[in-house]
Symmetry: C2
Subunit: 104 residues, 2 copies
């Protein structure tokens, strides 16, 4: 199992906008070999933001990497950060990839 | 879905010890209502450590909280940080709880 997480610091007054973007996204993830599950996770609150994480479970790291090189990935990210709108996040997202080493 | 993660900065020469502790742990998680899955995840490498995360999926935040108040939790954590050994981690673990807000 491989977990791909992107951590986003979302401005507290923009969480509804941020969540809506993910809700309306057409990611084509389900068509990808090795895809297991996707969740947008809402995490702890800090002074100036709420931490969110996109959380995708893949069968293997290789399946995740194949997705990042796919047309589907390019399309899903085509609108990320575009437009002249005031950003809803503080700074860029922080990617972390995790390999499962112990299951229980 | 609720994801409970504890992030550990593990010293690079102690990762085998760290993983063995989790492999040999008798957590009783599977007996807990609302428990879905546990994984120990190995994440990105930094200068002085490798990031690990314990990653437990629960049906609800309430199920997770019931576990933290259970005898099973107390037993599973009874040996955490005990002994006179040189610690295998840098600093204390950092807990983050996440609620799923978008599924796909």
């Amino acid at each position: 199992m491989f977990v791909a997480m992107n951590r986003f610091k979302v401005k507290k007054d923009r969480t509804a906008d941020f969540e809506a973007r993910w809700r309306n996204r057409d990611s084509h993830l389900k068509e990808m070999p090795g895809f297991t599950a996707f969740h947008l996770l809402k995490g702890p609150e800090a002074d100036d933001h709420i931490l969110y994480a996109s959380h995708t479970i893949w069968e293997t790291r290789e399946a995740f990497e194949a997705w990042t090189h796919s047309d589907a990935f390019r399309k899903a990210h085509a609108n990320a950060g575009s437009g002249n709108d005031e950003p809803v996040t503080i700074g860029p997202p922080q990617f972390e990839g995790f390999e499962s080493v112990v299951d229980a």
